[in-house]
Protein backbone atom coordinates (compact mmCIF):
# COMPACT_ATOMS: atom_id res chain seq x y z
CA UNK A 1 0.00 0.00 0.00
CA UNK A 2 1.25 3.49 -0.75
CA UNK A 3 2.12 5.95 1.96
CA UNK A 4 -0.52 8.61 2.40
CA UNK A 5 0.82 12.03 3.29
CA UNK A 6 -1.33 13.97 5.77
CA UNK A 7 -3.46 16.74 4.29
CA UNK A 8 -1.38 19.39 6.07
CA UNK A 9 1.42 18.48 3.66
CA UNK A 10 -0.56 20.22 0.90
CA UNK A 11 -0.64 23.47 2.88
CA UNK A 12 2.14 26.00 2.16
CA UNK A 13 2.70 27.25 5.74
CA UNK A 14 3.56 23.73 6.84
CA UNK A 15 6.95 24.08 5.16
CA UNK A 16 7.77 27.42 6.78
CA UNK A 17 9.12 27.34 10.31
CA UNK A 18 6.39 29.12 12.25
CA UNK A 19 7.35 32.13 14.34
CA UNK A 20 4.53 31.70 16.88
CA UNK A 21 5.67 29.45 19.71
CA UNK A 22 2.56 27.31 20.18
CA UNK A 23 2.06 26.95 16.45
CA UNK A 24 5.70 26.01 15.95
CA UNK A 25 5.36 23.25 18.52
CA UNK A 26 2.32 21.80 16.76
CA UNK A 27 4.12 22.04 13.45
CA UNK A 28 7.23 20.27 14.77
CA UNK A 29 5.07 17.52 16.22
CA UNK A 30 3.41 16.99 12.84
CA UNK A 31 6.73 16.86 11.03
CA UNK A 32 8.13 14.42 13.58
CA UNK A 33 5.17 12.13 13.08
CA UNK A 34 5.42 12.43 9.30
CA UNK A 35 9.17 11.76 9.18
CA UNK A 36 9.01 8.70 11.43
CA UNK A 37 5.94 7.16 9.83
CA UNK A 38 7.32 7.78 6.34
CA UNK A 39 10.61 6.17 7.35
CA UNK A 40 8.84 3.21 8.92
CA UNK A 41 6.64 2.67 5.87
CA UNK A 42 9.54 2.79 3.41
CA UNK A 43 12.01 1.15 5.79
CA UNK A 44 14.35 4.09 5.57
CA UNK A 45 16.86 4.13 8.39
CA UNK A 46 18.71 7.29 7.45
CA UNK A 47 17.70 10.80 6.61
CA UNK A 48 20.46 12.31 4.47
CA UNK A 49 19.35 15.65 3.13
CA UNK A 50 20.56 16.00 -0.46
CA UNK A 51 21.97 12.52 -1.00
CA UNK A 52 24.90 12.14 -3.35
CA UNK A 53 23.20 9.46 -5.41
CA UNK A 54 19.74 10.22 -6.76
CA UNK A 55 16.91 9.39 -6.54
CA UNK A 56 16.21 10.90 -3.16
CA UNK A 57 13.88 8.59 -1.23
CA UNK A 58 12.87 11.52 0.96
CA UNK A 59 11.85 13.84 -1.85
CA UNK A 60 8.13 13.09 -1.54
CA UNK A 61 8.09 13.73 2.17
CA UNK A 62 10.21 16.86 2.42
CA UNK A 63 8.78 18.77 -0.52
CA UNK A 64 5.53 19.33 -2.34
CA UNK A 65 6.19 20.50 -5.90
CA UNK A 66 2.48 20.99 -6.51
CA UNK A 67 2.44 23.92 -4.09
CA UNK A 68 6.06 24.83 -4.83
CA UNK A 69 7.20 24.32 -1.28
CA UNK A 70 10.02 22.36 0.33
CA UNK A 71 11.62 22.13 3.74
CA UNK A 72 14.55 24.51 3.75
CA UNK A 73 17.87 23.37 5.22
CA UNK A 74 17.78 25.49 8.39
CA UNK A 75 14.32 24.28 9.34
CA UNK A 76 15.16 20.67 8.51
CA UNK A 77 18.29 20.92 10.67
CA UNK A 78 16.18 22.25 13.51
CA UNK A 79 13.72 19.37 13.13
CA UNK A 80 16.54 16.83 13.11
CA UNK A 81 17.99 18.39 16.24
CA UNK A 82 14.60 18.07 17.87
CA UNK A 83 14.33 14.40 16.90
CA UNK A 84 17.76 13.75 18.38
CA UNK A 85 16.87 15.65 21.56
CA UNK A 86 13.75 13.49 21.94
CA UNK A 87 15.75 10.29 21.58
CA UNK A 88 14.04 9.52 18.28
CA UNK A 89 17.20 9.73 16.20
CA UNK A 90 20.99 9.99 16.47
CA UNK A 91 23.46 11.82 14.30
CA UNK A 92 25.06 9.26 12.03
CA UNK A 93 27.88 9.42 11.14
CA UNK A 94 28.77 11.01 14.49
CA UNK A 95 30.23 14.50 14.85
CA UNK A 96 28.12 16.13 12.18
CA UNK A 97 24.69 17.72 12.20
CA UNK A 98 23.24 16.93 8.79
CA UNK A 99 22.31 13.28 8.63
CA UNK A 100 20.58 11.13 11.18
CA UNK A 101 19.78 7.53 11.89
CA UNK A 102 16.08 7.38 12.69
CA UNK A 103 14.55 5.42 15.54
CA UNK A 104 11.16 4.62 14.09
CA UNK A 105 11.74 1.65 16.33
CA UNK A 106 13.68 2.31 19.50
CA UNK A 107 16.88 0.35 20.12
CA UNK A 108 15.08 -1.40 22.99
CA UNK A 109 12.41 -2.61 20.55
CA UNK A 110 15.05 -3.76 18.10
CA UNK A 111 16.71 -5.65 20.96
CA UNK A 112 13.56 -7.68 21.57
CA UNK A 113 13.05 -8.34 17.86
CA UNK A 114 16.67 -9.42 17.55
CA UNK A 115 16.47 -11.82 20.46
CA UNK A 116 13.12 -13.25 19.31
CA UNK A 117 14.56 -13.86 15.88
CA UNK A 118 17.65 -15.60 17.22
CA UNK A 119 15.47 -17.70 19.47
CA UNK A 120 12.85 -18.65 16.89
CA UNK A 121 15.48 -19.57 14.30
CA UNK A 122 17.20 -21.84 16.83
CA UNK A 123 20.40 -19.81 16.82
CA UNK A 124 20.84 -19.26 20.53
CA UNK A 125 24.22 -20.23 21.97
CA UNK A 126 25.94 -20.06 18.60
CA UNK A 127 28.11 -17.24 17.36
CA UNK A 128 26.55 -15.12 14.64
CA UNK A 129 28.35 -12.48 12.63
CA UNK A 130 26.77 -9.09 12.07
CA UNK A 131 26.58 -9.95 8.42
CA UNK A 132 24.64 -13.13 9.09
CA UNK A 133 22.16 -11.17 11.15
CA UNK A 134 21.52 -8.43 8.61
CA UNK A 135 21.68 -10.71 5.57
CA UNK A 136 19.91 -13.90 6.63
CA UNK A 137 18.95 -16.61 4.13
CA UNK A 138 15.31 -16.22 5.13
CA UNK A 139 13.97 -12.63 5.22
CA UNK A 140 13.64 -11.28 8.73
CA UNK A 141 12.76 -7.93 10.28
CA UNK A 142 16.49 -7.35 10.74
CA UNK A 143 17.46 -7.27 7.08
CA UNK A 144 19.77 -4.32 6.37
CA UNK A 145 19.59 -3.05 9.93
CA UNK A 146 22.31 -0.40 10.19
CA UNK A 147 25.28 -1.50 12.28
CA UNK A 148 25.02 1.28 14.87
CA UNK A 149 21.46 0.17 15.62
CA UNK A 150 22.46 -3.46 15.71
CA UNK A 151 25.23 -2.64 18.18
CA UNK A 152 22.82 -0.63 20.34
CA UNK A 153 20.39 -3.53 20.39
CA UNK A 154 23.14 -5.99 21.31
CA UNK A 155 24.36 -3.70 24.10
CA UNK A 156 20.85 -3.65 25.55
CA UNK A 157 20.64 -7.45 25.44
CA UNK A 158 24.10 -7.73 26.97
CA UNK A 159 22.92 -5.68 29.97
CA UNK A 160 20.32 -8.31 30.73
CA UNK A 161 22.70 -11.18 30.08
CA UNK A 162 20.98 -12.28 26.92
CA UNK A 163 23.82 -11.59 24.51
CA UNK A 164 27.57 -11.22 24.37
CA UNK A 165 29.33 -8.96 21.88
CA UNK A 166 32.29 -10.52 20.12
CA UNK A 167 34.67 -8.20 18.33
CA UNK A 168 36.44 -9.68 15.33
CA UNK A 169 39.19 -8.59 12.97
CA UNK A 170 36.77 -7.94 10.11
CA UNK A 171 33.48 -7.01 11.68
CA UNK A 172 31.89 -8.31 14.79
CA UNK A 173 29.65 -11.02 16.02
CA UNK A 174 27.37 -11.89 18.86
CA UNK A 175 26.33 -14.88 20.85
CA UNK A 176 22.80 -15.02 22.22
CA UNK A 177 22.06 -16.94 25.38
CA UNK A 178 18.95 -18.93 26.07
CA UNK A 179 17.23 -17.73 29.19
CA UNK A 180 18.50 -19.47 32.27
CA UNK A 181 15.96 -21.75 33.90
CA UNK A 182 14.67 -20.05 37.02
Amino acid sequence: AGYVLPSIHAWPPFFYQQPGAATQATQAEQWTRLILSYARHHRLFHLHPHPVHPPDPWADALANPRIKRSLKAPYLSSLLASLVAQGLAVYDPPKQLHSVLLYWRLPSEWAEILFDWASSTAQLNTILTFYEITNPPVPSPLVDLPLPLLRSAIAILAKSGRAQLIEGADGGGVRFFSPKPS
Binding site: S7, P12, F14, F15, P19, G20, A22, T23, A25, T26
Partner: protein
Protein backbone atom coordinates in the same frame (compact mmCIF):
# COMPACT_ATOMS: atom_id res chain seq x y z
CA UNK B 1 -30.62 4.79 20.07
CA UNK B 2 -30.85 7.49 22.68
CA UNK B 3 -34.10 9.31 22.97
CA UNK B 4 -34.02 13.04 22.88
CA UNK B 5 -36.49 14.52 25.30
CA UNK B 6 -36.86 16.78 28.28
CA UNK B 7 -35.00 15.89 31.42
CA UNK B 8 -38.34 15.53 33.16
CA UNK B 9 -39.58 12.68 31.03
CA UNK B 10 -36.24 10.94 31.09
CA UNK B 11 -36.07 11.13 34.88
CA UNK B 12 -39.54 9.62 35.25
CA UNK B 13 -38.63 6.78 32.91
CA UNK B 14 -35.47 6.04 34.84
CA UNK B 15 -37.25 5.88 38.15
CA UNK B 16 -39.82 3.46 36.79
CA UNK B 17 -37.11 1.32 35.29
CA UNK B 18 -34.99 1.08 38.43
CA UNK B 19 -38.01 0.20 40.53
CA UNK B 20 -38.80 -2.58 38.10
CA UNK B 21 -35.23 -3.87 38.14
CA UNK B 22 -35.15 -3.95 41.91
CA UNK B 23 -38.38 -5.86 42.07
CA UNK B 24 -37.17 -8.48 39.59
CA UNK B 25 -33.89 -8.83 41.42
CA UNK B 26 -35.52 -9.18 44.78
CA UNK B 27 -37.49 -12.22 43.71
CA UNK B 28 -34.26 -14.18 43.32
CA UNK B 29 -32.35 -12.88 46.29
CA UNK B 30 -33.10 -12.86 49.95
CA UNK B 31 -34.37 -9.73 51.56
CA UNK B 32 -31.07 -9.33 53.42
CA UNK B 33 -29.05 -9.58 50.25
CA UNK B 34 -31.24 -7.05 48.54
CA UNK B 35 -30.97 -4.65 51.44
CA UNK B 36 -27.20 -5.05 51.48
CA UNK B 37 -26.99 -4.49 47.73
CA UNK B 38 -29.14 -1.42 47.91
CA UNK B 39 -27.13 0.02 50.73
CA UNK B 40 -23.82 -0.60 48.91
CA UNK B 41 -25.11 0.98 45.74
CA UNK B 42 -26.37 3.94 47.72
CA UNK B 43 -23.00 4.38 49.42
CA UNK B 44 -21.09 4.16 46.18
CA UNK B 45 -23.45 6.50 44.46
CA UNK B 46 -23.14 8.96 47.31
CA UNK B 47 -19.34 8.87 47.07
CA UNK B 48 -19.41 9.44 43.36
CA UNK B 49 -21.89 12.28 43.78
CA UNK B 50 -19.68 13.85 46.44
CA UNK B 51 -16.66 13.65 44.22
CA UNK B 52 -18.52 15.03 41.22
CA UNK B 53 -19.92 17.84 43.34
CA UNK B 54 -16.64 18.87 44.88
CA UNK B 55 -14.97 18.78 41.50
CA UNK B 56 -17.92 20.11 39.61
CA UNK B 57 -16.20 23.31 38.57
CA UNK B 58 -13.13 21.39 37.43
CA UNK B 59 -15.23 18.94 35.48
CA UNK B 60 -17.15 21.72 33.86
CA UNK B 61 -14.24 23.96 33.12
CA UNK B 62 -11.52 21.55 32.11
CA UNK B 63 -12.07 19.11 29.25
CA UNK B 64 -8.91 17.23 30.09
CA UNK B 65 -10.04 16.75 33.67
CA UNK B 66 -13.42 15.61 32.46
CA UNK B 67 -11.81 13.07 30.17
CA UNK B 68 -9.67 11.79 33.02
CA UNK B 69 -12.76 11.52 35.20
CA UNK B 70 -14.54 9.57 32.51
CA UNK B 71 -11.58 7.25 32.17
CA UNK B 72 -11.65 6.61 35.89
CA UNK B 73 -15.36 5.88 35.71
CA UNK B 74 -14.76 3.44 32.87
CA UNK B 75 -12.01 1.71 34.83
CA UNK B 76 -14.32 1.07 37.78
CA UNK B 77 -17.18 0.01 35.54
CA UNK B 78 -19.30 3.15 35.70
CA UNK B 79 -20.34 4.60 32.39
CA UNK B 80 -21.18 8.29 32.81
CA UNK B 81 -22.48 8.40 29.26
CA UNK B 82 -24.83 5.47 29.78
CA UNK B 83 -28.42 5.96 28.79
CA UNK B 84 -31.51 5.52 30.91
CA UNK B 85 -31.07 1.75 30.97
CA UNK B 86 -28.05 1.90 33.23
CA UNK B 87 -29.18 4.89 35.18
CA UNK B 88 -27.41 8.10 34.41
CA UNK B 89 -25.99 9.88 37.40
CA UNK B 90 -24.65 12.65 35.23
CA UNK B 91 -28.11 13.69 34.21
CA UNK B 92 -29.12 14.00 37.83
CA UNK B 93 -25.91 15.66 38.95
CA UNK B 94 -25.65 18.19 36.18
CA UNK B 95 -29.23 18.39 35.10
CA UNK B 96 -28.52 17.26 31.52
CA UNK B 97 -30.12 14.83 29.16
CA UNK B 98 -27.77 11.91 28.45
CA UNK B 99 -27.81 12.35 24.74
CA UNK B 100 -27.09 16.02 25.07
CA UNK B 101 -24.30 15.40 27.52
CA UNK B 102 -22.70 12.86 25.24
CA UNK B 103 -22.84 15.29 22.36
CA UNK B 104 -21.33 17.98 24.55
CA UNK B 105 -18.42 15.72 25.41
CA UNK B 106 -17.84 15.05 21.74
CA UNK B 107 -17.94 18.75 20.91
CA UNK B 108 -15.38 19.41 23.62
CA UNK B 109 -13.21 16.58 22.37
CA UNK B 110 -13.11 17.98 18.86
CA UNK B 111 -12.49 21.55 20.02
CA UNK B 112 -9.64 20.47 22.29
CA UNK B 113 -8.00 18.32 19.66
CA UNK B 114 -8.14 21.05 17.00
CA UNK B 115 -7.24 23.86 19.37
CA UNK B 116 -3.54 23.89 18.68
CA UNK B 117 -4.16 24.06 14.99
CA UNK B 118 -6.82 26.77 14.95
CA UNK B 119 -6.20 28.66 18.20
CA UNK B 120 -9.47 27.64 19.81
CA UNK B 121 -11.82 28.93 17.16
CA UNK B 122 -13.57 26.59 14.76
CA UNK B 123 -16.21 27.22 12.16
CA UNK B 124 -19.57 25.64 12.99
CA UNK B 125 -19.66 23.93 9.62
CA UNK B 126 -16.30 22.30 10.24
CA UNK B 127 -17.27 21.26 13.78
CA UNK B 128 -20.41 19.66 12.41
CA UNK B 129 -18.45 17.80 9.77
CA UNK B 130 -16.00 16.41 12.31
CA UNK B 131 -18.83 15.49 14.69
CA UNK B 132 -20.66 13.58 11.99
CA UNK B 133 -17.47 11.80 11.06
CA UNK B 134 -16.79 10.93 14.70
CA UNK B 135 -20.29 9.63 15.37
CA UNK B 136 -20.36 7.76 12.10
CA UNK B 137 -17.15 5.94 13.00
CA UNK B 138 -18.37 4.90 16.45
CA UNK B 139 -21.66 3.62 15.09
CA UNK B 140 -23.89 5.97 17.06
CA UNK B 141 -26.79 6.70 14.77
CA UNK B 142 -28.77 9.88 14.41
CA UNK B 143 -27.77 12.84 12.31
CA UNK B 144 -26.52 15.93 14.11
CA UNK B 145 -27.87 19.32 13.19
CA UNK B 146 -26.46 22.74 13.87
CA UNK B 147 -29.29 23.24 16.35
CA UNK B 148 -28.18 20.20 18.33
CA UNK B 149 -24.65 21.51 18.52
CA UNK B 150 -25.90 24.99 19.41
CA UNK B 151 -27.98 23.59 22.28
CA UNK B 152 -25.02 21.62 23.57
CA UNK B 153 -22.83 24.66 23.50
CA UNK B 154 -25.51 26.74 25.18
CA UNK B 155 -25.40 24.31 28.07
CA UNK B 156 -21.64 24.49 28.20
CA UNK B 157 -21.86 28.27 28.16
CA UNK B 158 -23.82 28.15 31.38
CA UNK B 159 -21.22 25.78 32.80
CA UNK B 160 -18.73 28.55 32.25
CA UNK B 161 -16.39 26.50 30.12
CA UNK B 162 -15.51 29.31 27.77
CA UNK B 163 -17.55 27.87 24.93
CA UNK B 164 -19.43 30.36 22.86
CA UNK B 165 -21.02 30.70 19.47
CA UNK B 166 -20.45 33.97 17.72
CA UNK B 167 -20.94 35.31 14.27
CA UNK B 168 -18.26 36.45 11.87
CA UNK B 169 -19.78 37.77 8.69
CA UNK B 170 -22.44 35.28 7.72
CA UNK B 171 -20.73 32.31 9.34
CA UNK B 172 -21.16 30.86 12.80
CA UNK B 173 -17.98 30.23 14.77
CA UNK B 174 -17.44 28.30 17.94
CA UNK B 175 -14.93 29.58 20.45
CA UNK B 176 -13.55 27.11 22.96
CA UNK B 177 -11.03 29.20 24.85
CA UNK B 178 -11.63 31.83 27.49
CA UNK B 179 -9.99 34.52 25.50
CA UNK B 180 -12.36 36.46 23.32
CA UNK B 181 -11.43 37.73 19.92
CA UNK B 182 -10.71 41.42 19.97
CA UNK B 183 -12.64 43.44 17.42
CA UNK B 184 -9.79 43.84 14.96
CA UNK B 185 -9.15 40.11 14.97
CA UNK B 186 -12.82 39.48 14.28
CA UNK B 187 -12.58 41.68 11.23
CA UNK B 188 -9.49 39.87 9.96
CA UNK B 189 -11.28 36.56 10.53
CA UNK B 190 -14.20 37.75 8.46
CA UNK B 191 -11.91 38.79 5.64
CA UNK B 192 -10.15 35.43 5.85
CA UNK B 193 -13.47 33.65 5.43
CA UNK B 194 -13.98 35.20 2.04
CA UNK B 195 -10.48 34.29 0.89
CA UNK B 196 -10.34 30.65 1.99
CA UNK B 197 -8.30 31.48 5.04
CA UNK B 198 -5.47 33.31 3.35
CA UNK B 199 -4.85 37.02 3.98
CA UNK B 200 -2.01 39.46 3.59
CA UNK B 201 -1.26 42.94 4.89
CA UNK B 202 -2.23 44.78 1.73
CA UNK B 203 -5.47 42.88 1.35
CA UNK B 204 -6.54 43.60 4.93
CA UNK B 205 -5.57 47.23 4.56
CA UNK B 206 -7.53 47.74 1.37
CA UNK B 207 -10.62 46.07 2.82
CA UNK B 208 -10.55 47.94 6.14
CA UNK B 209 -8.83 51.24 5.47
CA UNK B 210 -6.69 50.72 8.58
CA UNK B 211 -3.18 52.07 8.91
CA UNK B 212 -0.36 49.69 8.15
CA UNK B 213 0.55 49.63 11.83
CA UNK B 214 -2.93 48.65 12.90
CA UNK B 215 -3.02 45.84 10.35
CA UNK B 216 0.38 44.61 11.51
CA UNK B 217 -0.58 44.65 15.17
CA UNK B 218 -3.74 42.67 14.48
CA UNK B 219 -1.90 40.06 12.40
CA UNK B 220 1.03 39.86 14.82
CA UNK B 221 -1.31 39.26 17.73
CA UNK B 222 -3.00 36.51 15.81
CA UNK B 223 0.34 34.89 15.01
CA UNK B 224 2.29 35.33 18.24
CA UNK B 225 -0.17 35.93 21.02
CA UNK B 226 -3.19 33.82 20.12
CA UNK B 227 -1.96 31.10 17.76
CA UNK B 228 -4.72 31.87 15.28
CA UNK B 229 -2.49 32.37 12.27
CA UNK B 230 0.22 30.50 10.41
CA UNK B 231 2.73 32.41 8.30
CA UNK B 232 4.08 31.67 4.84
CA UNK B 233 6.52 33.50 2.59
CA UNK B 234 5.28 33.37 -0.95
CA UNK B 235 7.47 34.35 -3.89
CA UNK B 236 4.81 36.48 -5.50
CA UNK B 237 2.53 37.46 -2.65
CA UNK B 238 5.16 38.14 0.01
CA UNK B 239 4.22 37.42 3.60
CA UNK B 240 0.94 35.55 3.72
CA UNK B 241 -1.16 34.72 6.77
CA UNK B 242 -3.36 31.66 6.98
CA UNK B 243 -6.21 31.29 9.44
CA UNK B 244 -6.97 27.59 10.09
CA UNK B 245 -10.11 28.48 12.03
CA UNK B 246 -11.94 29.29 8.81
CA UNK B 247 -10.51 26.48 6.72
CA UNK B 248 -11.96 23.06 6.05
CA UNK B 249 -9.50 20.25 6.65
CA UNK B 250 -9.89 16.94 4.89
CA UNK B 251 -8.13 14.34 6.97
Amino acid sequence: MYRRGGAGIAAFDRHTQSTQSYSELSSSLTATQVASLQSQLATFRASLSRFASSHRSDIRRDPEFRRAFQQMCAAIGVDPLAGPRKGSWWAELLGLGDWQYELGVQVVGICVSTRERNGGIIEMRELLRLLTKLRGLSGIDGAITEDDVARSIKIMETLGAGYEIFQVGDKKMVRSVFKELDNDQAVVLEIAQSTNGRVDEKGVQSKTGWTVERVRVALDNMVFRDGLCWVDEDEQLGTVYWVPAVMIWYD
